[in-house]
């Protein structure tokens, strides 16, 4: 499944400072790809350092917003959100500076 993954707010530093990743994620026989599955795929395939800055337990660490097609994943079922081909998933760390 073709997905566009974007990292921002400093999270791009965990994947070699590349913000936009066009990826092909294997559905592993499942009918629907869930965000749960995508998170573990990202952790294995994209995160090159300090994985604890991206995940905590089986979800993202506190302070990270997840957006599926420009919409907060809290509104679509968080880890249970299912993804479609060509979806855009954004992971962004909240900023505190000024």
């Amino acid at each position: 499944m073709q997905l566009t993954l974007e990292f921002g707010g400093g999270l791009e530093l965990l994947c070699q400072s590349v913000k936009i990743h066009n990826v092909d994620v294997d559905q592993a026989g499942e009918e629907k790809l869930t965000m749960r599955h995508l998170l573990s795929w990202v952790r294995t395939n994209l995160i090159k350092e300090r994985p604890e800055m991206f995940m905590k337990g089986d979800t993202v660490r506190p302070g990270v917003l997840v957006l599926v097609n420009d919409c907060d994943w809290e509104l679509s079922g968080q880890l249970d959100t299912t993804l479609d081909d060509k979806d855009v998933v954004v992971f962004i760390s909240t900023l505190h500076g000024g």
């Binding site: 800055m53 660490r61 302070g63 917003l65 919409c71 962004i92 909240t94 900023l95 505190h96 000024g98």
Partner: protein, 286 residues
């Protein structure tokens, strides 16, 4: 003479004429603005443009909170401060700049750090709060205090080459804790003084904070509540995304929230976020 009916003096009608001409703003919008009061917390990178535009556009009473002094390494982004004010209070410097461009509004100086001991008293005097601070504990403190007092919060942030903006605690929308119930690890909380910031990035976000504050104050347009603006300066990309609504389980604004004035005053924000409300910046070696 609609302007005079709304209590605008001939000088005000002349000064704000470009606002009065706007069909979607007009005399009613300007009149609302002149009757409103806005507090800007932080007279730094975000506060500089926010304060200048709020003063210029005719907010009736404008408060400024900051405990810091102007330093030379602030000036690349904090355009409200002139070199002549280096070493002096940021509040004093910012207030002088605001008065110089609009002597007809009231500017209130709060030369102190915002803390649980003074926040309720200071913030209760204003209709709207603009968060232009630079650290995580201040962001929780300000949001919680806005929830306790029922004030809308215009929240902006900038770091490196990115910025973020939203309106909290407005029209049934979420508060800061609804989005971020647990503080991030301290290693994820960089400040401009540690990581750098391109000067004009807080400029863009601070202007947009002034715009959102002005919209809420004048009751014109759709504020950025329930939505968040994400700005990437390097690629010139801006996303406006839909965020969650108010959380029923939120510890600050949820159904069973225990956030009273008393609880707020005793809350230890530095312990909660494991980071200090203000710091001395690291020295740069190049």
């Amino acid at each position: 003479y609609l302007g005079l009916e709304h209590g605008l003096s001939p000088e005000m009608i002349y000064r704000y004429s470009r606002h009065l001409l706007l069909p979607n703003f007009g005399v009613q919008g300007q009149s609302n603005l002149l009757k409103s009061s806005i507090l800007v917390v932080g007279a730094g990178g975000l506060g500089s443009p926010a304060l200048l535009y709020l003063a210029a556009c005719g907010v009736g009473r404008l408060g400024i909170v900051d405990h810091d002094v102007v330093e030379l390494n602030n000036l690349h982004r904090q355009i409200i401060h002139a070199e002549a004010y280096i070493g002096q209070s940021k509040v004093k410097s910012a207030a002088a700049a605001c008065r110089a461009i609009n002597s007809s509004i009231q500017i209130v100086e709060h030369k102190e750090a915002l803390r649980t001991s003074n926040a309720l008293e200071i913030m209760s005097k204003y209709d709207i709060v603009v968060d232009a601070t630079d650290n995580a504990p201040s962001r929780y403190l300000i949001s919680d205090c806005c929830v306790v007092l029922g004030k809308p919060l215009i929240s902006g942030a900038a770091l490196g080459l990115e910025g973020q903006l939203t309106v909290y605690n407005h029209n049934g929308g979420p508060c800061y804790r609804c989005l971020f119930p647990t503080p991030p690890p301290t290693t994820a909380c960089q400040r401009c003084s540690d990581s750098g910031v391109l000067g004009v990035v807080p400029g863009v976000i601070g202007c947009l904070q002034a715009l959102e504050a002005l919209k809420v104050a004048s009751a014109v347009g759709e504020p950025l509540s329930g939505r968040m603006l994400l700005f990437d300066a390097l690629s010139a990309r801006i996303r406006i995304v839909k965020i969650r609504g108010r959380s029923l389980n939120c510890e600050a604004c949820g159904e069973n929230a225990a956030f009273t004035r008393q609880f707020f005053q005793n809350f230890d924000y530095e312990k909660f976020t494991q980071s200090p409300l203000s710091t001395t910046p690291l020295k740069l070696k190049l």
